[in-house]
Each structure stands twice: as structure tokens, then as C-alpha cells.
Amino acid sequence: MLRFLALLGGIILRFTETTGRVLLLLLQVIKMMLIPPLEIRNTFKQALEIGVRSVPVVLVTAVFTGMVLALQTYTGFKRFGAEALVGSVVALSMTREMGPVLTGLIVAGRAGAAMAAELGTMRVTEQIDALETLATDPVKYLIVPRFISGLVVMPMLTVVADMIGILGGYAIAVWYYHTSSILYWKRAWDYLELSDLYGGLIKASFFGGMIALICCYEGFYTEGGAEGVGKATTGAVVISFMTILISDYFLTAWLIA
């Protein structure tokens, strides 16, 4: 019993310590964002890395998600004759939920892991110390561009995912199940409100910022050589996934209210 309590206490302590340190890093990042010069060249490079290079994976994921949504709703809704609503279900699910969450998971797995590994390697090979000795603030130079890119690029990717997902749903509903093409678009459009799209994009931006912050944190404070870099990368991806899925619930609850 005592050992269990000690274990539990240890976990809680570590959790609160890490949360606190991530928040401190966030404050530092925000402070550095406000001090010129802006790292424009670096930010574009990171946006390219996080954004453009993620597009292929996002496309494949979104199109199949849209397709499977249409498949499931059609077979389910057919039982009570509501198969005409496939369009609205696909559109609502993609924009409100699937678009931002799936894109977030992809970006965390791809770009987030890369961030943690790169910063971790820079830490253990003293490149971050070298930046300091060359009078360059590593938070400003390394983390701020990634954070801004995360905030900005994630919503863009999500818009792409939303569109492609809805097109994927169209392909199944219209070409495979031969429902009316006009009805698919009409239903998709009629029940979709601008706030659905906005809500999804707010989530996406939040996820983007969190992914960058968590993955940079893990990489930046890496200890213990190559093994440490491996641990940091795994940790970054796992914590990002958890953060996305858990915060998604609370963000949704907040956006609905």
C-alpha cells in the first residue's frame, strides 16, 4: 500500500513538474515572440517542414476517413430511410472533429517527432550550447519559429483535410451507393454552419501550438546521449497524442457551450 502511494505520488509530482515547466517554456516563447527581430526565414522553413511535407499523409488519411464515414452512415441510416443525410454527417464530422484531430495526430507523429529528435540531437551534441555562445537565444531561434508554424499551419492543413474528407464521402455516397449528387452537396451545405468550421480550426490551431510546444520541450531538455534522444522522441509523440485527445473533449465542450 505504501509503495503504491509512493508510486502514485511520484507520478503526480512528475506530472505537475512537467506541466509547470512546459508552461514556463510557453511564457518564455510568448515573451520572445514579442521581441524583434522576427525569425522570418526560420519560420517559413518550419512551416514548410510541418505543413507542405505533411500534405500527402493528410490527403490519404482524410480521403479514407471521409469514405469510411460515408460507408458507415449510409448502411446505418438506410435502416430508417435517412440515407440522404450522409452528406451532412460527413461534413459535420470532418469539420468539427475528424479534420482537426486526425491532422493533429499526423502532424504530431510526423513533424512533432522530427522536432523532438532534431532538438534532442542538438542538445546532446552541444549545438544548443553553441547557439548560446554565439549570443543567440535558443528559445527564440529554435522554438518560436516552430511554435508559430504549428499555430498557423495546422488550421491550413485541417481545411485541406476537411475538403478532401467531404470529397471522399461524396465518392462513396454518389459513385458507390448511387445516391443523388445534388442531395449530397445540398445536405452537406444546409446543415453546416460557419461556426462548425471555425470551431474545428480553433481546435486545430490549439493542437498545432501544443504539439510544437510539447515536442520542443521534450527535445530541448533531452539528457543522456542517443538513448535520451530516443526517449524524448517517443515521449513527445505519446504526450502530444494524449494532449490532443484529452484537450479535444474539453475544447469541444467549451465550443458547444
Binding site: E126, D129, T133, A135
Partner: protein, 256 residues
Amino acid sequence: MADSVIEVVDVHKSFGDNHVLRGVNLRVEKGQSMVVIGGSGSGKSVLMKHIIGLLRPDSGRVLISGVDITRLDKKHLYEIRKKFGMLFQGAALFDSMTVWENVSFALTRSGMKDREARMVAIEKLRLVGLRNVEDLMPSELSGGMRKRVGLARAIAHKPEILLYDEPTTGIDPIMADAINELIIKMREELNVTSVAITHDMHSAYRIAGRIAFLYEGQIVEEGAPDEIQNTSNPLTKQFITGSFEGPIKVEGISVS
């Protein structure tokens, strides 16, 4: 006193339970070449990181040209850092940049245009004996070349103080001597103050104006190379002769 560029005063530093620096005192005068020798884990690297302000001491002061850098805020610390150039043990070149971008990093950061920065980088690379490497990536270089690029980067912004972290570790003896030669050349041509940390005694004798021996977190002896060579201190004697027998014990191994 006026001429001391670096002054470390009674610096203590612990990491958890590990009391690494236990009251280090060290003075380096302008133009001097100080070599700090000591075994692995004696706190050499930690001491060096205090001199350039990468670590802050638990107590004590570090004065650079009379300014206590342990109390400076970030902005002023970065100003002081511009006086420094540091060569890291593994060179610590930025993997994502070409050689010339590495060398001219501090210059482009402070606003120099790429064309000009590239020219300066090529000139600094020549100074360390490298030609036609400016467009290569660090991963394409050998260990010795990486160190030389690291040195070119350290001197690019014309620092007053050069720090060398184990300059000859991890490279072959001939390359090591070439690096020694470069360090001497830097001192003569650029007239810089330098601090090197090493456990390579051959290198220490070659490059040192003065040698300080760091043992268990304190400077136990300091003097000119010939004074150190003829020391009567048993600790220093054992270290410089590289003997297993003596007052310094290697844990887990005993004399049979």
C-alpha cells in the same frame, strides 16, 4: 588586477548531491593562455561553462573584464558573450547548415549580408588551413576538419577570449598536434586570451602559458608549465606523469 580578463572567485556548483565545484579560484590575465588540466569528472567542463555563463554558480563570482556575469540578465549576458569564441569538444557544428553558414553564423545574425559573410567565412577557413569546404555539410567532414571548422566559427566574430573544450580529444595524434599548432597561431596572430581544458598533457605543455590543475572541484596547483613539470605536489605529480599509483585512487581497481 586591472589586467585580469577572467576572474573566477570561490565558485561552488552542485548537481543534486554531486558537489562538482568546491570553491574554484582562477585568474587569467590579458593575452594569457591558461590550460586547466584534470581527470574525467573533475569539473573542468563545468568550470568552462561557468566562465562563458552557460551555467550559473550556486555561490561565488565570475568576472569577465571586471563585470560579474553571474548577476547579469540575458540581454547583457549575450553582449558579454560576443567577447567569447568557444570550440566545443565535438565541434558542435549546426548539422542543418553548410560549413560557411556555420562559420559566419554570428555575423549573419548581427546583420551581415550573405555575400559578405561567405567571404569572411572563406577567409577564416583559410586561417585554419581549410580550402574548398565552404559548401559542404558538416556530416561530410572528418573529425579533425570538423574541429577546424568549429575553430573558424569561434574566431569569426573576432572574440577577445577563446575557450577550448578538450581540443585534442577524439582525433589522431598528428591532427591533434596540428590543432595545437593552430591554437598557438591563434594566440600569436589574433592576440586573444585563451582558456583550454584538457587531460592531454602533451597538448597542455605545447599550448599553455600557465597550467592549473583541477582536482575534486578545486584548483590544487597553478603555475608555468616548467613549474608544473617539476612540481612537488604528489597529486599533480601523479596526474602529469599519468601514473596509476599515487594518492589519487581509481575506484574499483587496486594495486596488486
